[in-house]
């Protein structure tokens, strides 16, 4: 676009930027059309019909049904057009493509913690490859934050107690702003960071570097992929003592669980999405699998949001036990 990069416009570095900018320019055109149109009409009337000795009083006009219909119907049509256009942009933003690579984001007062699947983690920085759709799965440890990259034209609230998703495909290498846009306390305005878009090869190299200074997130588990960390946590927290394939098993087998549907005590059926898995770990008694006793202890307070994400990532790698369809929810 013409003004891109000029100080009154954000950089544009994602596939959305062009669409959103085009829409934005259209909206300004429309606004100027109406604002100038109305201003010009008003000014014309003021000049033409200003009070004078020849024009001491206004004409007696009641209104006009035709005009009323016209200026109800036309704005309505325009408004619906605007809606249709913006909705199509929006729906696209809501649906990450299937081939998107996933990155975990955890917000907390006042930093962004980012975990790549290959193991590297970072704080207040997000490295992403050029030209590859990236899907962010996000949650918060305390209050609501919001993940905003103006150059990508995306934003999504990061809400405690649940996951949110957003995605983008970067189109230009460079360094871009990352802002927190939901007010979250003292250092809200410093909960900022950078998004670094790299060539794919450079990104691979960067990933391979590993965590040079393992700080913050699970220093002892540095450089492990979430799935590997999850496996370690799975052992560490003794999940294996109940979820193992063998006689005397008390918990259901977890292989193949993500993406399937689960029958619960009481007859309800739920989809085993990441929200369900998260809840199963942090608050297992909220939904108990049919045929099992509510024996699983809660892990709330013992595992962090990143740990949960890692555990879920690990559970996703488990394969269904041979012979069972999907995963067995039938009691042993």
């Amino acid at each position: 676009m013409l003004f891109t990069g000029f100080f009154i416009f954000p950089k544009s570095a994602s596939t959305f930027a062009g669409e959103v900018d085009a829409f934005y320019f259209f909206m300004w055109a429309l606004t100027l059309f109406f604002a100038i149109g109305i201003a010009a009409t008003v000014i014309a009337f003021i000049i033409r019909y200003r009070r004078s000795d020849e024009n001491p009083a206004g004409a007696d006009i009641e209104g006009s049904l035709q005009l009323e219909i016209m200026w109800t119907a036309i704005p309505f049509a325009i408004a619906m057009g605007i809606f249709a256009w913006s909705a199509s942009i929006f729906v696209n933003m809501q649906r990450p493509p299937d081939n998107a690579m996933e990155i975990f984001v955890v917000g907390k007062q006042w930093m962004w913690k980012i975990q790549h699947m290959e193991g590297r983690s970072e704080i207040n920085q997000l490295h992403v490859p050029l030209g590859k759709p990236v899907k962010l799965t996000m949650t918060s440890e305390d209050v609501i934050h919001s993940f905003y990259v103006p150059a990508f034209r995306i934003k999504a609230d990061v809400v405690p107690g649940r996951y949110n998703t957003t995605w983008f495909e970067a189109t230009k290498t460079g360094t871009y702003h990352l802002f927190c846009t939901e007010y979250c306390g003292t250092n809200h305005s410093r909960m900022i960071g950078q998004v670094v878009v790299m060539e794919q090869a450079a990104y691979q190299d960067w990933l391979a570097e590993g965590n040079t200074n393992a700080t913050g997130i699970g220093a002892s588990l540095a450089n492990l992929s979430p799935a590997a960390r999850g496996e370690a946590l799975f052992t560490e927290h003794g999940c294996k003592t109940c979820h193992f394939d063998g006689p005397g098993r008390v918990g259901p087998l977890l292989g193949g669980l993500p993406g399937s549907t689960v029958k619960l005590e009481g007859g309800d059926v739920v989809a085993a999405d990441s929200r369900y898995l998260r809840e199963s770990i942090l608050n297992p008694r909220a939904r108990v699998v049919e045929g099992y006793e509510p024996l699983m202890p809660t892990f709330a307070g013992r595992v962090s949001e990143e740990d949960v994400m890692s555990l879920v990532a690990y559970i996703k790698t488990l394969s269904p036990p041979p012979g069972a369809e999907a995963h067995t929810t039938t009691a042993p």
């Binding site: 008694r285 939904r287 509510p294």
Partner: protein, 214 residues
């Protein structure tokens, strides 16, 4: 007659306009009360929808007997209130006063039972917060249930307290002989308020006490 005229405030054209304005105003006020409780009911429905099993489970920690008893008491007080208005309309000041006393008494019984229930819940550590201890499964969502339980019944009880206060004033005025067949608007309005409070309870009772009882 002069008595009657003085009852019409200066800015009203006549007694009828005054009466209609007052009762309509009272109803509009009740509409705001509906919306006030609407916020609470929405909260309730959202969570009940999300955590129905936990809610049913937690509801079993409330005592249906107390709830039913209180429902009867409150409906009874609505009856005495209606009778009080009917009596006031006929200038029967003595029976108006008696019915009002009955209404107030029943209201107090309700609050008494309620506070007994509250005390019991405190005792059982079922009041949300740091001391919350819940024996059943899923304590988190049960705590949510009790939060809503206390918010809803607490605000309902607050309305009752206000209602009893209003009623006491009406009673005092009745004893002074302020109301008669020509002028009983305040009694009528207080009655509308009282019935509304009853009405809210009629919904609260099944929603809080009777979930998943079978």
């Amino acid at each position: 007659m002069s008595e009657l005229v003085s009852r019409v405030q200066h800015h009203f054209a006549d007694a009828e306009q005054q009466y209609e304005s007052a009762t309509f105003g009272m109803w509009v006020f009740l509409v705001t009360e509906i919306m006030f409780f609407a916020g609470l009911f929405t909260t309730y429905i959202v969570y009940r929808h999300a955590y129905s099993a936990a809610f049913a489970e937690a509801s079993h920690h409330l005592d249906v007997a107390f709830g039913t008893f209180n429902t009867v008491v409150l409906i009874g007080s609505s009856l005495t209130m209606a009778l009080a208005i009917a009596a006031a309309k006929q200038s029967k000041q003595r029976s108006t006063a008696i019915y009002l006393v009955a209404t107030i008494a029943l209201g107090c019984v309700f609050l008494g039972v309620k506070s007994f229930e509250y005390a019991h819940k405190f005792h059982e550590n079922l009041f949300p917060g740091a001391n919350f201890v819940y024996p059943g499964p899923d304590p988190a969502h049960a705590e949510l249930f009790f939060s809503i339980y206390f918010a809803m019944t607490g605000l309902h009880a607050l309305h009752m307290v206000i209602g009893i206060g209003v009623m006491s004033v009406i009673l005092k005025e009745t004893l002074k002989g302020s109301y008669n067949a020509e002028y009983f608007t305040p009694v009528e309005c207080a009655g509308l308020y009282w019935h509304f409070v009853d009405l809210v309870w009629i919904y609260l009772f099944p929603l809080l006490y009777l979930i998943g009882r079978h």
